[in-house]
């Protein structure tokens, strides 16, 4: 059976189409090509006094309802508040810990988003764009810190989470929580400088801090970095988080897509050609 012009063209067409479409679903690699450095925030829980000023200022800056006075010791952020300060009783006394979106270097939410509504900006904040989001909540499924929150009781629901005051940063020098912190527990700056600063503090006061900067390696590195006097699991932080980026987990699958699109159709066409005359043989056998 020779390769006839017709079947050759067919093969060519099928391969061409699949190549073209395979290209469109090709996985984009998650490298950050900008020369601008990510900015982040260093949170030092030994300096935090649990005044919750950051909660009030955050709510005001994002036009969210004002936090209530009396609250439980341990809370989670939700669609009405982007940050909470929790209180834990530890062997080193009362320790406070501020929670909000971690602004990962390689955010799972942004890799998950099929409309690029979740986006890691060049300067560091992970932001949400309501004009693109279709509300599928895949970002919530993917985020290892469960940061994105969804407005379930709205006909026009938004995703709420800390955006590191991306809008405000156009005019101001630091996010609302950092700017208004009365006890200098929060420090805004380039991530690299913040890590240096954190190391310096641990080095200078090794008795005060545990030797761990939460966020340096967690989830492949996050924009928010934490210092603590006690191990982080005592503060309700997830320490089972993997030390490499989460988008990495789907990379293998996405990279296999173009090759599947080239190999499978070709294979199928080949099998089809090879078995083409099977049923004819069967019929002949039946007739005989």
């Amino acid at each position: 059976m020779g390769l006839r012009r017709r079947s050759f063209l067919k093969l060519l067409g099928v391969t061409g189409i699949t190549l073209a479409i395979g290209e469109s679903s090709h996985a984009a690699s998650k490298t950050t090509e900008s020369d601008e450095e990510f900015h982040g925030v260093l949170y030092d829980s030994t300096r935090c006094v649990g005044c919750r000023t950051c909660e009030y200022e955050c709510a005001a800056a994002h036009k969210l309802p004002e936090p209530i006075d009396k609250v439980a010791a341990v809370r989670k952020t939700d669609e009405t508040c982007n940050t909470v300060v929790n209180t834990f009783q530890t062997d080193k006394g009362e320790v406070f810990i501020k929670r909000q979106c971690m602004h990962c270097n390689e955010p799972a939410c942004a890799a998950a988003c099929l409309t690029k509504a979740m986006h890691k900006t060049k300067s560091g904040p992970v932001t949400w764009d309501g004009d693109k989001c279709m509300g599928c909540r895949y970002c919530m499924v993917s985020c290892p810190f469960d940061s994105p929150k969804f407005e379930y009781h709205s006909a026009n629901p938004k995703i709420q989470k800390c955006d590191m005051c991306a809008e405000r940063m156009k005019t101001e020098k630091s996010p609302a929580c950092v700017f208004n912190c009365p006890n200098d527990a929060l420090k805004y700056g380039k991530r690299r400088d913040l890590i240096k600063e954190a190391r310096r503090r641990i080095y200078e006061k090794p008795d005060l801090y545990i030797d761990h900067i939460y966020g340096e390696h967690e989830a492949g590195g996050t924009g928010w970095l934490y210092l603590s006097p006690v191990p982080f699991e005592q503060l309700g932080m997830n320490t089972a988080i993997q030390q490499s980026s989460y988008p990495e987990l789907t990379k293998g699958f996405l990279y296999s897509v173009p090759s599947v699109f080239v190999l499978v159709p070709t294979l199928l066409l080949g099998i089809h050609q090879a078995t083409k005359n099977n049923h004819l043989n069967q019929e002949e056998e039946n007739e005989n």
Partner: protein, 408 residues
């Protein structure tokens, strides 16, 4: 045969519009048990959907910030698409392997698959918070190409087109469009090849969606091999659905099916049970390998461990053995039992990955509300209505009109 040809020549004289209008009218008895059950549920479902779009998803679902995906994604989309896998397996056997014995069930399987995608992937729209932006990943300038969901969404869309093309000759025969039928049936092979490739990727893609939820899914169900598991299990999930649906169709629409195809059905079911058993063996073996490789022995003696054993032994291993026995003994009833058990197993597996095993340690677990169940049922019933409408009008189960053979 003759009556078919006669009605067609008459319809050709009528305007197409009047023909379509007359086809819209319901046929057969109206007050059947199925209608009496399905109509109120569909109407209630419509009311609930209106409430959902006015007051938000939280008004009728029990979804929380911790469990953003519930029954509608876990069952309607993820499980529904697995059951629609029969279409790519059967078209693979008939058009690629040229096993013409299965030709009589191609159309009904493709129709079933097509409707499943339209309705269950369509049910996704109900679950989207901002569905008016659903067009963004298709036409917008915001291609999230690093997203598995982007790939799955595109594949759903393209696969629906491929299945529509595969089914289109039946529509052409129904309308009596001879030239169109010739052109459309010429496109079948390309559509089949394209469709199988898409299926390989999005059946596994549905599993790959959950790869980033590492740590949130119970370790007995999470592994880097979820995509492969989902793909392999979609083959026997789909075939079990073919067996199940075929058994019902052959009773309900028996008037449509020729004596020859009635006779062939038993042989087809028998061969399918063999294929199911083979695929399930591969799947069971893969699961076992992953289980041993991940060293989860300690997890077995927990509540979730028993649940895992029930799924793997009770609804994979047992139906696999039943398929083997039924194939050997030519026992069609046993095959049907095995198919139903397999389907339960697939539902269990998909729900375990997406809902039950998701955040399994939470104090307050997500349980779907009765309204979520009602909407799901309404979607399924509506699909069956459309399925029945097509079956009674187009040559799906019955033979093609006589002019088709003359043309060829």
């Amino acid at each position: 045969m003759k009556t078919n040809a006669e009605t067609l020549t008459i319809t050709e004289r009528q305007s197409t519009w009047r023909f379509l209008l007359s086809e819209m009218k319901p046929r057969g008895k109206f007050l059947t048990p199925f209608n009496i059950i399905s109509i109120p549920i569909i109407l209630l479902g419509v009311v609930l959907i209106v409430i959902r779009f006015m007051k938000g998803i939280g008004s009728i679902t029990n979804l929380t910030q911790d469990t953003p995906w519930g029954l509608w994604i876990g069952f309607d989309v993820v499980t529904g698409v697995a059951f629609a896998g029969g279409a790519y397996v059967i078209t693979f056997m008939v058009y690629i392997l040229n096993l013409k014995n299965f030709h009589s069930i191609v159309r009904v399987t493709v129709l079933n698959g097509f409707l499943a995608y339209v309705f269950y992937a369509g049910a996704l729209l109900l679950d989207l918070g901002r569905p008016w932006h659903v067009i963004n990943p298709v036409i917008g300038n915001s291609f999230g190409t690093s997203s598995v969901l982007f790939l799955v969404a595109w594949h759903f869309l393209l696969y629906m087109v491929a299945e529509l093309i595969e089914f289109s000759p039946a529509i052409a025969e129904w309308l009596g469009a001879r030239r169109a039928r010739k052109i459309l049936s010429g496109m079948t092979l390309a559509a089949v090849i394209f469709g199988i490739t898409l299926s390989t990727l999005h059946q596994s893609g549905l599993g790959a969606l959950f790869l980033m939820a590492k740590g949130k899914i119970h370790p007995l169900w999470y592994s880097e091999f979820i995509p492969i598991m989902f793909f392999v299990s979609s083959t026997f999930a789909g075939l079990s659905m073919v067996i199940f649906e075929g058994s019902i169709s052959h009773k309900v629409f028996s008037g449509q099916i020729s004596e020859k195809n009635h006779q062939a059905q038993k042989g087809i079911i028998n061969k399918l049970s063999k294929i199911c058993a083979g695929a399930m063996f591969a799947y069971f073996f893969l699961q076992l390998l992953v289980f041993i490789h991940e060293q989860h022995w300690g997890l077995l003696n927990t509540g979730m461990g028993y649940w895992y054993l029930l799924e793997m032994l009770g609804f994979v291993l047992v139906p696999m053995i039943l398929f083997i026995i039924s194939y050997r003994t030519f026992n069609t009833t046993l095959t049907r039992v095995a198919a139903i058990m397999t389907m339960i197993g697939v539902i269990l597996n998909r729900l375990n990955v997406t809902v039950i095993g998701f955040k399994w340690e939470m104090a307050i677990r997500y349980v779907p509300s009765w309204m979520e169940f009602t909407v799901t049922l309404a979607v399924i019933f509506t699909e069956i209505w459309i399925f029945r409408w097509v079956i009674t009008r187009m040559p799906v189960l019955r033979d093609s009109p006589s002019w088709v053979k003359e043309n060829e």
